[in-house]
């Protein structure tokens, strides 16, 4: 755990999950969400500082959901790893799926870690505390 809060880009489409995660990080105070984008396209626009995100602040870590509209997590991950500027940003796959395929694919694609979304808030808090 570092002293400065990690700056995290949250890529998530579920509104409830976004609220809960923000609350959890607020509780844990270990990291702060620098931005929240709701789908993969937005994520790439942000990371590419395109459009409205022309002066976006680069995150220190990307918290990436898998099942999203327009562009899903795997595609974002692949594009990030293909882009020299974005390669080095660690990506944590944060998904409701506990399927072995998703896990394996995530690691294969270069995710730093795979975390299944906890089913209760306490679990979220514990997760947030690990940063």
């Amino acid at each position: 755990m570092s002293d400065t809060p990690v700056e995290i880009l949250l890529v998530e489409d579920n509104e409830n999950d976004i609220v809960l995660i923000q609350e959890a990080f607020a509780e844990a105070a270990t990291a702060r969400l620098v931005a929240v984008v709701r789908d993969g396209e937005e994520a790439m626009a942000y990371l590419g500082r395109r459009g409205q995100y022309h002066d976006a602040r680069m995150p220190g870590l990307v918290l990436l959901d898998i099942n999203m509209p327009k562009k899903n997590g795997f595609e974002v991950l692949a594009e990030m790893k293909a882009d020299p500027a974005l390669q080095s940003i660690p990506v944590v796959i944060f998904s409701g799926s506990t399927q072995q395929e998703d896990i394996a694919r995530s690691y294969a694609a270069g995710a730093a870690t795979y975390v299944p979304k906890p089913m209760d808030f306490q679990g979220l808090i514990e997760f947030a505390q690990t940063f």
Binding site: N16, L20, G96, S97, T98, Q99, M119, D120, F121
Partner: protein, 814 residues
Amino acid sequence: MTSRSSPSSARQLARVLGMAVVYYVAGRLALLLAIPPGYATAVWPAAGLALAGVLLLGNGVWPGVVLGSLLVNFWTSFDATTPAAMLNSVLLPTAIATGAAAQALVGARLIRRFVGHPNALTRERDIFLFLGLGGPVSCLTSATIGVTSLLAAGVIEWSRCPFSWWTWWVGDTIGTVLFAPLVLVWTAKPQAVWHRRPLSVTVPIGLTFALTVVLFVRASAWEQQRIEHEFERRTLNLGQALRKNFDGCLEVLHSIESFVASTPEVNRESFRIFVERSFRRHPGLDVVSWNPVVTEARRARYEAAARAAVPNDSLYGFEIREWDADGRLVRAARRAQYVPIQFMEPLAGNESVLGFDVASDPVRSQTLKRARKIGKPTGTGRIVLSEETRQPYGLVVFLPVYAHGQPRATAAEESEHLLGYAGGAIRIGDMMEAALGGAEGKDIAVRFYDDSAPAEERLLYADRGRSSEPESLRVAGDQESHSALHSETRFEMAGRQWTLEFSATPEYLTVLPWQAWGVLAFGLVFTGLLGALLLVVTGRTVEIGELVASRTAELERANENLISQIAERQQIEAALIESRDVTEASRRDLETLLHVISHDLKEPLRGIAGFSEMVRIHYADRLDPSGRDFLARINGEALRMRRLLDDVLTLARARREELATAEVEGMKIVESAIERLVSTIQKTGATVWVAEDLPRLQVEPTWAVQAVFNLLSNALKFTRGERPPEVDVIGYQPRAGEPRAAGLVVKDRGPGVAPEHEERIFQLFQRGVGREVEGTGAGLAIVKAVAERHGGRAWVRSREGGGTEFVITFEKAA
């Protein structure tokens, strides 16, 4: 005897006529093979055809056999010379025809009885019985009837009966043995099976038969040649014997000539002694005489001297005599010369002839002149020598005798020195019989001709020999060829030309030509045996063929059956596979559905659980107890729902996932499961005892652990009363009747499972206990799914002393 079926009378008539025609044709052809002189045929195919006809067409064709036989025999032996002969020549063929028909009927009956008809003649027993009964046995009939009829009709003698019967029986037997099976083989049904057999049997038999016939013809020809040579030889010998004898008689004259020439005075006594022995050695010699030439001048002195020479002259009163017109002996008239018989031996009975002037008889006088002319013994023509009627003829031979050492160059000298004539009378009959021998000559007819005589006086001797007409009515068409044995010899003797004629009597040719007959009989017997052999061999072939055909048909049927069964099976298999695929597909779909649903359901659940928790964290103090209670319930239900979804997901995965199994110690599995329950065990104060000899298991470790975890978790929930849970884990030992497998048994001391729930509890969400017991109701379903995915089973059984035993088995470790 009635025929089995009753065809229309027109058809029956056609059959009868057909039988008659066949019999007739076969009979005529067979007669070409008749062997002389008995006219017996060594093969009588008509008998075989008759038998086959009766077998094939029924007993009712017997009139056809009678008719055919009548036609064959009648034609060739019809004799209309006398009414008796005519009757005979009608009755006799009728009797023989009856015998032939009876034979066919007897044979058919025997065959029907012991062999069966129709019969394929494929088995050895059938073939040999057929040949035996149809051949030797039934052919006794016609031979016996026929020979008896011949005997009764007086056509043959007793002595010839055995041979006739023998040849008749052999001929019929061979004809039957050869031809009856051939006919049946050609007309047998079904032709499909038989089609090669007739040819295979007929061709070799036909060839052998033809060969036999050819050999027989050669042998016959050879035999015939032999007979002819024999005949020639014999007649040659006979001729030579005759000439020798004849010559011998003439030699006697020569010896008399020498005797007279050398003896100054010949008297009766010395003459007699001289010629006495000659008669024994020359049987044909009747008398010999000395006939001196006496001139008229010397007559009186000659007669006186002759009378004086005979002591007892009272009987003779020798004088020169001649025959008068009435044939009596009277004193000879006066002429220049006389040639009286001075001596004659043997004298007895010939006394009256002494003194007879042989020159007075014109025939003898002629002969004397000729004899003088040629200087050799010269004979007269035919002369009746005696009163016998049988062989009355003879001839007289004269030989001129001249004085020894005197010249005869001129006629005058010759006449002057002629002393007289030696004379001899020869009985042709005796000479012939002596020359021709006794019994040996009886089978050859002899005729002896004097060619130098006028036509009506030429036959000197004839002997027909003993001849009897041997008979079988199977008479060959051409009689002359067989009695044509004939030979003629011509020679000159005693100044005349003679012809000696021999012809063979039928007796001569009765000497049975054993060689030819033997060849034919042997050849035909061989052919018959060959036929039997061919029938047996082809019969076997036919049977084997039929067997092969029927087995092949069976095999084909079985094959077709198999093919259709296979097709059925394949169809069933395809249907099964299809349904299995469908089931699998739908199962997969279901499980995918389950998975997707439970996954998607988790999302809102997260929201519910998370926000209700948020409310509790931030706003619990603003709620009254009731409010806090409601919140707690919301949280609780969310949590429960999460667990349900997790279990369902697990179950779906358990059923769906491929298992990568490994060999793992059972102990390890159990330990892993217990690790996850440590807190629960501590909390409940439970005792878990694990046996040390847990088996090795071929399992996918994660799932095995999950299953055991579920079982242990259940066991820890169930206890009796307030006692802490007691859980035992041992290795699975099958009881009698249980399947053998590797597995574990988890035992608890809980309340037990009611028997009616033993199956239910393994179903998803079917619980055997109430809600007071924690659990989703999916645990055992997962256990069962894991077991079945491993090829094992999961079940429950009650425990002695209370409680439950849960058994989970996996496929046995190798």
